[in-house]
Symmetry: C2
Subunit: 476 residues, 2 copies
Amino acid sequence: MEEKKFVTELTDINEDLSQWYTDVITKADLCDYGPVKGTMVIKPYGYEIWEHIKEYLDVEFKKVGSKNAYFPMLIPESFLKKEAEHVEGFAPEVAVVTYAGGQELAEKLIVRPTSETIIGEMYSKWINSYRDLPMIMNQWCNVVRWEKTTRPFLRTSEFLWQEGHTVQPSEEDAVKNTKQMLDIYVKMCKDLLAIPVLSGRKTEREKFAGAVDTYGIEAVLRDGKCLQSGTSHYLGQNFAKSAEIKFLDRDGELKYGYTTSWGVSTRLIGAVVMVHGDDRGIKLPPKVAPIQVVIVPIASHKEGVLENTEKLAERLKNAGVRVFVDDSNQTAGWKFNQWEMKGVPVRLELGPRDIENNSVVAVRRDTHEKIVLPLDNIENSINDLMDKIQQNMFDIAKEFVDHNTFDVETMEEMIDCVNNKKVAKAYHCGDEACETEIKNETGIQSRVIIEECDDEHKCIKCGKKAKHKAYFARQY
Amino acid sequence: MEEKKFVTELTDINEDLSQWYTDVITKADLCDYGPVKGTMVIKPYGYEIWEHIKEYLDVEFKKVGSKNAYFPMLIPESFLKKEAEHVEGFAPEVAVVTYAGGQELAEKLIVRPTSETIIGEMYSKWINSYRDLPMIMNQWCNVVRWEKTTRPFLRTSEFLWQEGHTVQPSEEDAVKNTKQMLDIYVKMCKDLLAIPVLSGRKTEREKFAGAVDTYGIEAVLRDGKCLQSGTSHYLGQNFAKSAEIKFLDRDGELKYGYTTSWGVSTRLIGAVVMVHGDDRGIKLPPKVAPIQVVIVPIASHKEGVLENTEKLAERLKNAGVRVFVDDSNQTAGWKFNQWEMKGVPVRLELGPRDIENNSVVAVRRDTHEKIVLPLDNIENSINDLMDKIQQNMFDIAKEFVDHNTFDVETMEEMIDCVNNKKVAKAYHCGDEACETEIKNETGIQSRVIIEECDDEHKCIKCGKKAKHKAYFARQY
């Protein structure tokens, strides 16, 4: 049967996920390489995924009182130096503007790698009293981090993201906000991207430069590696002190605020590709797919086929479905492969016999299942089918994570586990140097903490009293 | 009466529009100055206006087949030099990255002042056949142009905009696209911003560097100056040739494409402020107002007032109205002034007597008219009222433009006209040098062409045969 003859020039996904990824992202038309090394062009088919993520998050952010704003991209070099750990974290990878308007600048300007410092500067000006708090703003923007090794969506010199920055009146409020935003990210990954992320607090070693605590979400890839897909930071009073963000509290005392920041980026598109892809190409969850349904007319030269295809497309469009008719002059088989590679959740095949039977053949991208659907009420059938696909994609990914995380008790077990493409769960003392030893010796890092522990567990590495149990994996 | 006692610290708008603008934009909380000279922070109250413009345009762009994408911000310096006129136009105002990742770069990178060159580079790679055309992409992004004299929203070193770039198979298609996008801008200004713009083709002198033709929209300000508020360029084959954008046409011939580009920026927010403002502050059209209705409880300590205010707010929110309750402990008079200054279209005052009468007092920002509205069916009354305000704001602005544009026949008349804060309509030979003379001698420039002319009219300046009739004004 034609639809089984898929021929792709993709690398075997089980052999080499990394090469498969490199192959598929340009073939599926998600992106292209920019002229400057390390940069990428996000093509419309990739960009629309980002638009759906934005729409979803924008609503959720506004529900918790966040408002969008826009802060300048160019930051005085001196700002970056205000917070010691922050400068250490970012200085090696910033891009610097030294000339502008035909003149050498008196002070060099940094292209923002993140906006903590400049937003802090403005907040310190705007915030006077407890009545001004909480202050919660978010911006959708580009940032630049000059990375040595780059890969489209996952790590590029410039990327798009949102960065939320808040000032809270107390530690309690700030920690609450940090966790609340993490929850929004977890829910978005589940609802929209069908990705069951590992989530939780990061260890001292893995936290953001200058943060008190960093919380993160991690996507588990089929090779057992983890991909950091979003972070939410509790910054304590560190940034408030360096930026002088003070407020007059109800009790008449002048206090430093407690700040948080949180962000997700276009890396999420890479996560979707990596988590759901298979040997036929990418697989997009219906909720973010730019094309949810592709209609391929069969024997389109026959009377009424194209006309009925258009009619069907129109009905689905009116029902809010993102639909595309492929009436190009390629063979049906070529089209089937092409749209499977591009990850369209549902393919509809409509030919003379289907029209006669007042039905259409639907093929699911997730299960390859073929179903005959009556044309009456097709709008509801398609919407139901997309809900099922969305749910099934999450369930499959969840099952994968559940079946690929294992408790380990020795370093040997951990190395075995990770080498066998699984994620390890292990007790650790929490000591930064001890974790660095693990990393240096094995390439394995903690991802997020599963639970703190008070009991008698021992650190997998040094044997001292364990502080927590965490996920360990290689990072992507 | 309290609501008439408005006290603002704004400069008299009729005396000095420019200073009034500078006063009002920060007081109304639209923006603040960034730490680097010439940069600005767009605060949430200003940014939301931009969000409404984006939402509107995004729908219109997609209707004509445009898709959003994202191209890298950093452009190799050599790209800018590909098109001679283009480099001349932008070279003096670019910001240049010379260091990145701790190293001096082999090739300097330009922060995009516009993206013609880099998008052209990608298009040349993506376009092969007539089947790939038209190619229509748009991006919402930041650009940097290092200007000497800056003013928030109107001219800042960095600003937000959208830039659409298309490749068309023929001159006819390209010119059609150029005009079609101009029409979308004109309609958006009318429908959303209540601004009746002057629109049309620009003269040779005023067109975009490298364009064959530039079309523009111009807002007429109350001091008779014009503010360029958007442009749509027909670039002919100029950019296609420098970027090597070629396609195999139906006839088997390899041809250069015809390109267009079009953009509007956050300058539109400045236009809204300038066009509609009055001595009490800014005045926002309901369609873009972040707060459409502010409810001020009267005698809020009295039983039931706050409760009923909240109930009313809830009803309006559910009807899709953007509503804010000002229950701060300022006086009612202070609040009235404050919200008038911030341009909220409708103020509702709800006190014990209103509650008793099952009604509410509505005050229009545009006419200062006070109306008593029954609480029954208040949702519809408010939506109707907002429609009326939106229409009235446009009508008033339109009347202003109609009453402030005059035909002039001599240079003396033109200077008089412009010095009297009116826009002049005059015949001109179209010669660039002749127009430059007008500019140099009087500060007056052509804005857009009203009509071409074949008949016996003479150039207002040199007396030679006129080529067109155009609007002349000082530019903001």
